[in-house]
């Protein structure tokens, strides 16, 4: 759709701009300010230039070591949960019932973990996994596995990952399900006529039609897992040792725990920058995909496209049918 150029549209965007600027730009400026200073407490600051940044990126210093280690852990964590949640989400979406009350029931149960406050998610798994009072921990120990997420690094990792899978696979599944729902029946019928096998239908129709929602799912899951704080903090507190200390946990430790504002601010900026870059890459890829979709859509008449959201196309735009 070609949009008209209208600079007055800025007036419509202004409220959003002000609200977000107030919540994002102002604090960010404080962060930049802090990141170049050092403090001895009691509100006395002195100029430190890029000192904190140098230290941050140098693994031999305490700050740099902690940052890079937590960054590595975080990246590893994100990769693992993506590798599990994306395929699992697709499988769950494909397993959705076709019709009847079970659809609504499955949707409600799937969405449930998404609406639980994050620290409660932590609490649920903290309780569930404890060897003394939790069902999971108790059963695992009863069948002879020595499982304890408080003292064992690997157990802690497994717990945090399973918790994330529990918490977020539904999001991927719901996105994929929505993508699947938007495929017109004619595609399945055509594939049937073309003699396509179940696997060929998945590869030729379902996967390509889902690729946009999958991209969004991957983006959201990567970002959110990269920023994860509350859930592992509640379950493991970043331990045992530092084994499950992710970047956000490290950051809060430095900022609110030690009130080391300069270090925290420098870490924040680098952290934010990484996220911004990844976000930009995704955005570019997605807009390009969008352009491709649009050129494709232009060649199809309005009725061939699924109406966006709830809106049905106005009757006047539909091809008229009747006595010619």
């Amino acid at each position: 759709m070609d949009k008209t150029v209208n600079q007055k549209a800025w007036f419509l965007v202004l409220p959003v701009f002000l609200v977000v600027a107030f919540s994002a730009v102002l604090p960010l400026m404080t962060v930049v300010n802090y990141s170049m200073q050092d403090t001895f407490g009691n509100n006395q600051f002195f100029w430190n230039g890029v000192g904190w940044f140098k230290e941050l990126l140098d693994p031999s210093t305490d700050l740099g070591g902690r940052f890079l280690a937590s960054l590595g852990r975080n990246l590893f964590f994100s990769m693992v949960i993506l590798a599990i949640e994306v395929p699992l989400g697709i499988v769950v979406a494909l397993s959705m019932p076709r019709q009847g009350w079970t659809v609504a029931a499955c949707l409600v149960i799937l969405a449930l973990p998404l609406l639980i406050p994050w620290n409660v998610v932590g609490t649920i798994w903290q309780i569930f996994g404890r060897p003394d009072i939790g069902l999971l921990g108790y059963v695992l120990n009863a069948i002879g596995l020595d499982y304890n997420y408080v003292s064992n690094d690997i157990d802690a990792w497994v717990t945090v990952i399973v918790m994330d899978v529990w918490h977020w696979t539904s999001l991927v599944a719901l996105l994929c399900y929505a993508g699947l729902k938007s495929i017109p029946d004619a595609y399945y019928q055509a594939a049937q006529i073309d003699g396509a096998s179940r696997w060929a239908v998945f590869k030729a129709i379902q996967l390509p039609k889902m690729n946009r929602v999958l991209l969004i799912a991957v983006l959201l899951r990567f970002m959110d897992s990269f920023m994860i704080y509350t859930e592992p903090f509640v379950v493991t507190g970043g331990g045992p040792g530092n084994s499950t200390t992710f970047v956000s946990i490290e950051l809060v430790k430095i900022a609110l725990g030690q009130f080391d504002l300069g270090k925290a601010a420098a870490l924040s900026l680098v952290y934010n920058l990484i996220i911004l870059i990844v976000c930009w890459i995704f955005y570019t890829v997605m807009t390009n995909a969008g352009v491709e979709r649009r050129t494709q859509a232009e060649t199809e008449p309005a009725a061939a496209r699924k109406p966006v959201g709830a809106l049905q196309p106005v009757p006047a735009l539909q091809p008229k049918e009747g006595v010619a």
Binding site: Q189, A190, I193, G195, Q296, A303, V323
Partner: protein
């Protein structure tokens, strides 16, 4: 390639127990000859797409049988039926090139690679798609995409029939003509049975040798375009085909005479045994009624307007409550707003409860 027989076939989306009146497709028995070009014509919701989907196997009929060359294939799945179907909106496998799209049905059936390449090249040439074979199919225009959908149907050499479900809905008018003549050419060249569903009479009459008209879940007539025009078997066919449609007027019919408002219209045949209590109507196409200056012995109608269609003009008139269109010859004009109507007796048909009655000679 096959002859297709439908034996007492019917379908209801509400299951077999539903009342027969609510069936989307009411019981039908008919034969589609091998190599024929058929059109299934009817307004939306008349059951034509249901019939098509039953033939292709997308829908399993509630009752009745489908035979391909005498063999009952009703329980077989779509895959096993060797049917090709082209849908209203082009179905394209997004990630594949045009060539891969065309090869897809063959690959799924395990046809050897050399054979696939040969068939794809052949179909690509037939459909003028060869310059695009290595291009991604998503970027093409709607008509090229529809050609690919069609090509996927034609690429298999053994299809029993090719079914079209309003395939030209999304195509621009000028390309519609091109694609339609392409289809006709393909039909001649490949000797395939083709069934073409449409609600557009021009499309149906130009494409098909045999037009099957459906109305309210029932097949009301099947015949050549000329038969449908000259002798509609059902008032609906008369009204639906032709532009303007057939004039249908309530009348009293006795022997060789029909009476409307006390005026007598001569009939070519004699109708002595009309079913008692039935609704009797006469039907005559506007082409066979002439509007002239009112005169003695002529039915006089109120003239409402004259439609000029270029080659021919039609006078729109009113006869009591009924409307009637009549051919207006060159130079016809009506100073006082009335017109006399001259009927051609050999083209006036009699209908009892909407069905054509054959008179005695």
């Amino acid at each position: 390639m096959a002859r297709i027989d439908l034996v007492d076939l019917a379908h209801s989306y509400g299951g077999n127990d539903a009342a027969l009146e609510s069936f989307a497709l009411k019981p039908v028995t008919m034969t589609w000859r091998q190599g024929g070009a058929y059109a299934l014509l009817g307004p939306s919701g008349c059951g034509k797409t249901t019939l098509l989907n039953v033939i292709s196997g997308i829908i399993t009929p509630s009752r009745g049988k489908i035979l391909f060359d005498g063999q009952d294939i009703t329980p077989l799945s779509t895959q096993k039926r060797n049917i090709a179907q082209v849908f209203q909106f082009p179905v394209i496998y997004d990630t594949m090139t045009v060539g891969q799209n065309l090869a897809f049905p063959l690959k799924n059936r395990g046809v050897p690679k050399a054979e696939i390449d040969k068939r794809v090249a052949e179909i690509g040439r037939l459909l003028d798609l060869d310059p695009y074979l290595n291009r991604k199919a998503t970027r093409l225009t709607a008509d090229a995409k529809q050609k690919i959908s069609l090509g996927r149907g034609l690429v298999r050499s053994d299809v029993a029939a090719v079914l079209f479900d309003e395939p030209l809905t999304v195509i621009d008018p000028e390309l519609k003509w091109q694609l339609r003549s392409k289809l006709k050419a393909l039909h001649r060249e490949l000797d395939l049975t083709m069934i073409y569903v449409t609600h557009d009479q021009t499309e149906a009459l130009t494409f098909a040798d045999t037009v099957v008209v459906m109305h309210d879940g029932r097949v009301v007539q099947s015949g050549t375009p000329a038969e449908l025009f000259d002798k509609p078997a059902h008032t609906f066919v008369g009204y639906f085909i032709g532009s303007p449609g057939m004039n249908i007027l309530p009348a009293e019919v006795r022997g060789r005479e029909a009476r409307i408002d006390g005026h007598v219209i001569a009939l070519n045949r004699s109708y002595d045994r009309l079913p008692a209590g039935a609704k009797i109507e006469i039907g005559v196409r506007p082409e066979f009624v002439e509007a002239v200056a009112p005169g003695p012995g002529l039915l006089t109608a109120r003239l409402e307007r004259i439609d000029d269609l270029g080659r021919i003009r039609f006078a729109r008139t009113r006869l009591g409550d009924a409307r009637l269109a009549a051919r207006a010859p060159a130079g016809f004009s009506s100073p006082d707003g009335t017109a006399g109507l001259k009927f051609d007796p050999s083209h006036v048909h009699v209908y009892a409860d909407s069905l054509l009655v054959e008179g005695a000679a």
